[in-house]
């Protein structure tokens, strides 16, 4: 642990910094304008490892929040908490206050099925099911019973593919396996699959890290369009990407949420030494 006590070298910026959420020490404003998900004092342990420490953050409607930071800083862990994907990891222990439109995400009576229907997720590596393109997109609507007829199902599938910007490329081969598409197309298929169930929030865990620059650019455009309808949180390794697609940026470091703020400010005038070091490429 090279930097285990950051309070010693944290610069004091009294004007803009607001300390919220139980004194986690995050620099900047953690609030969103129209919050969909609010997280307060999130702690995650994997066995003996304290992976996230007192993190508080909002994710708001019609905006893209990007989570940046060096590897192992807990950004993926954080978004996996938001739709309780960490439930599948035996050793993970999550505490804190997580709310989706005011509903407690970790409440006993919260149904993960309903939660995940509202909080979709796109993964690092494209993971289309070994089924046809059509069936990949139709999977969510089918299990949730969203379509009353074949016609409605067709509509949902076409609409989702269209919104994911994939329809034009695949409309003649919807019966072919989704695994036969190129990497970028696969990832857009996964996005189409996620929006087919009409979620409120889409979580993206480094969605472009396995893709080439051209495919990445398409996905970034797509994310920008999707912002109109969904709240989006995206984990990314690339600061350029964060700068291009997001309105707000959160910088994670060793399990701490160091700084949150408008993307422009984070990259031009960071409030914390660690953030500055990271965005200027001094480490990470």
């Amino acid at each position: 642990m090279p930097l285990d006590d950051r309070s010693t070298d944290r610069p004091v910026i009294p004007t803009t910094s607001q300390r919220t959420g139980g004194g986690s020490g995050t620099v900047g404003d953690i609030h969103a304008r129209e919050p969909v998900i609010t997280v307060r004092d999130c702690n995650v342990h994997y066995g003996d490892t304290h992976a996230l420490k007192q993190v508080s953050l909002d994710i708001g409607r019609n905006e893209v929040v990007s989570l940046i930071g060096p590897s192992g800083c807990g950004k993926s862990t954080f978004i996996r908490c938001l739709n309780r994907m960490n439930d599948t990891i035996e050793s993970a222990r999550v505490t804190g206050d997580f709310r989706l439109d005011g509903q407690d995400i970790y409440a006993k009576d919260m149904d993960v099925v309903l939660l995940r229907a509202r909080v979709g997720m796109v993964f690092q590596k494209p993971n289309p099911f070994p089924k046809s393109i059509f069936e990949n997109v139709a999977y969510g609507p089918r299990i949730h019973g969203l379509a009353g007829s074949r016609r409605q199902l067709d509509d949902i599938v076409y609409e989702s593919l269209e919104r994911a910007g994939l329809l034009a490329e695949v409309k003649d081969r919807l019966d072919e396996p989704g695994t036969g598409l190129s990497g970028g197309q696969q990832q857009r298929l996964c996005i189409a699959r996620a929006i087919a169930v009409s979620p409120d929030v889409i979580l993206m865990d480094e969605p472009c890290s396995a893709l080439d620059p051209i495919a990445t650019a398409r996905i970034e455009d797509l994310i920008d369009e999707l912002r109109e309808k969904y709240a989006i949180a995206i984990v990314t390794h690339s600061m350029q990407q964060a700068a291009r697609v997001s309105q707000r940026t959160a910088y994670f470091h060793l399990g701490n949420l160091v700084e949150v703020g408008p993307t422009e400010k984070i990259f031009t005038n960071p409030g914390h030494k660690l953030t500055e070091d990271y965005v200027t490429g001094r480490f990470g």
């Binding site: 599948t88 993960v112 995940r116 099911f129 089924k131 969510g140 699959r193």
Partner: protein, 462 residues
């Protein structure tokens, strides 16, 4: 010379060859300091000489073990008096056994025809002469081989390369044994099956509806003439295998799903070994359990329901066979289910699917080729399973699909036809080999298809 003495002498010669060659190599190099002048280490020269001494002699020994007795017996047969010489092969072998017994001096009651006495003497003489000859040849070869190898030792001799080439040849030989086994199986069943089809047309065998292999022992005997229509056996085998699979596939698959998708690690650690115990129990134990416990239970249960359950019902045998196959299916399915990438499960769960929906709609379809391969292997096992059906299924070749009746299977008939006294030319005995041929071909096809499917599946996710 006794066999053990000869083998001891032989071993001594081989060891001597090793040390002699080693010494000679060191001497050639000009003592221990000159070992650098040798191409190979002295020990390699030793191994080289030992192998040269042992291999040809061992070859002769192996050859003798295969044909020696036949050669001697062939000689003995020519000295038999006339009535014996024209006997059938099976009777002749009985006579030869008597000659052997006489020669070894075992007077085990019963009287032997006096005319065999001189034959026994002749056998003894031939036997001991052949032993001497064998010993002489083996020891001479060992000596000559070792001496020749020592003679050729030069510092430049590439002894290590030669030893390694010989060892490699032995390794290659061992690896081809599997092929020879397959060829041996094929030849032995095909050879006898062809003889059978010479007596019973192959069409009658494959499509005949009646099976009663009891042929008359003597031509003048009154009795059934024998019918060799194997369809009832195929049907019985299929019926019992189908029952077994109906038990094993759903239960085995659900066990695999439960253990890989639901069970906690602790439960997995407890249940898996228990199921492996189920897999390790010998089939004869299952057969005994089926006959002693399950069959009476089914019978009583059937009576309570007003059903007539045969005491050797297909249901009992199939049920127990199914349980035997459960761990087979569950461990194969467990493997393929675990090979399905976690990312697919995550993708489905993240869409809000429940674990069962994920399993049924994503994991199982993705694992299907592997599961199908495992099921095919299991079918092949069910068809070839012998002891359970021998002990718990009947002998009556009935053409029925009613699982409460007794049926018979291919393997049961092979066992019944071949156990006990047999004459080797009757269609009754040969029929067993024809059945064996069918069994081998069917399981071969199933196995190869299953292996290909599983292999392709593994490649998909590797």
């Amino acid at each position: 010379m006794r066999l053990t003495t000869m083998l001891l002498l032989f071993a001594t010669l081989v060891i001597l060859a090793y040390f002699a060659a080693r010494r000679r190599a060191i001497a050639m190099a000009g003592g221990h300091r000159g070992i650098r002048n040798l191409h190979s280490l002295p020990a390699h020269h030793g191994y080289y000489a030992a192998l040269c001494s042992a291999l040809p002699a061992l070859l002769v020994l192996a050859l003798w073990a295969l044909v020696g007795d036949r050669v001697v017996m062939g000689q003995v047969i020519t000295t038999l008096p006339e009535p014996y010489r024209s006997m059938e092969a099976s009777e002749l072998s009985l006579v030869l056994n008597e000659v052997r017994a006489l020669a070894s001096g075992q007077a085990m009651g019963g009287e032997r025809p006096p005319e065999l006495e001189p034959v026994a003497g002749r056998f003894l003489a031939l036997h001991s002469a052949s032993r001497w000859l064998l010993s002489a040849v083996v020891l001479a070869l060992a000596l000559a081989g070792g001496a020749l190898a020592c003679w050729t030792i030069r510092p430049q001799l590439r002894a290590r390369n030669r030893v390694e080439a010989m060892v490699k040849a032995l390794l290659i030989g061992a690896s081809t044994l599997a092929v020879f086994t397959t060829v041996g199986i094929l030849l032995s069943v095909i050879f006898e099956a062809v003889r059978f089809f010479g007596q019973v047309p192959i069409i009658d065998f494959l499509f005949g509806l009646e099976w009663s292999p009891q042929t008359a022992l003597r031509p003048d005997q009154v009795g059934s003439s024998g019918a060799f229509g194997a369809v009832p056996l195929f049907a019985g085998t299929l019926l019992i295998s189908a029952i077994a699979m109906a038990v094993a596939v759903p239960i085995g698959l659900m066990v695999a799903i439960y253990l890989s998708e639901y069970a906690e690690p602790r439960m997995r650690a407890l249940v898996k070994p228990l199921l492996e115990v189920l897999a390790g129990i010998p089939t004869v134990v299952y057969g005994y359990f089926a006959a002693l416990t399950v069959a009476p239970l089914l019978r009583e249960g059937g009576e309570a329901l007003g059903l007539d359950v045969a005491s050797e019902s297909a249901l009992g045998a199939g049920l127990v066979m199914g349980v035997m196959i459960i761990p087979f299916i569950s461990s194969l399915s467990d493997d393929v289910i675990n090979a399905v990438p976690q990312s697919l499960r995550d993708g489905s769960l993240a869409l809000g699917a429940t674990t069962s929906e994920t399993t049924r709609r994503v994991v199982i379809p993705a694992a299907l080729p592997g599961i199908v391969g495992g099921v095919l292997l299991a079918v092949s096992r069910a068809i070839g399973e012998t002891m359970i059906v021998v002990m718990a299924a009947g002998l009556s070749a009935r053409l029925t699909v009613n699982p409460l009746e007794a049926v018979t299977t291919v393997t049961v008939q092979i066992v019944t036809l071949l156990v006990g006294d047999q004459e080797f030319d009757s269609p009754k005995t040969l029929a067993a080999f024809a059945l064996g041929l069918v069994l081998f071909i069917v399981t071969l096809v199933l196995n190869i298809v299953a292996l290909l499917v599983v292999r392709r599946y593994r490649e998909q996710y590797e």
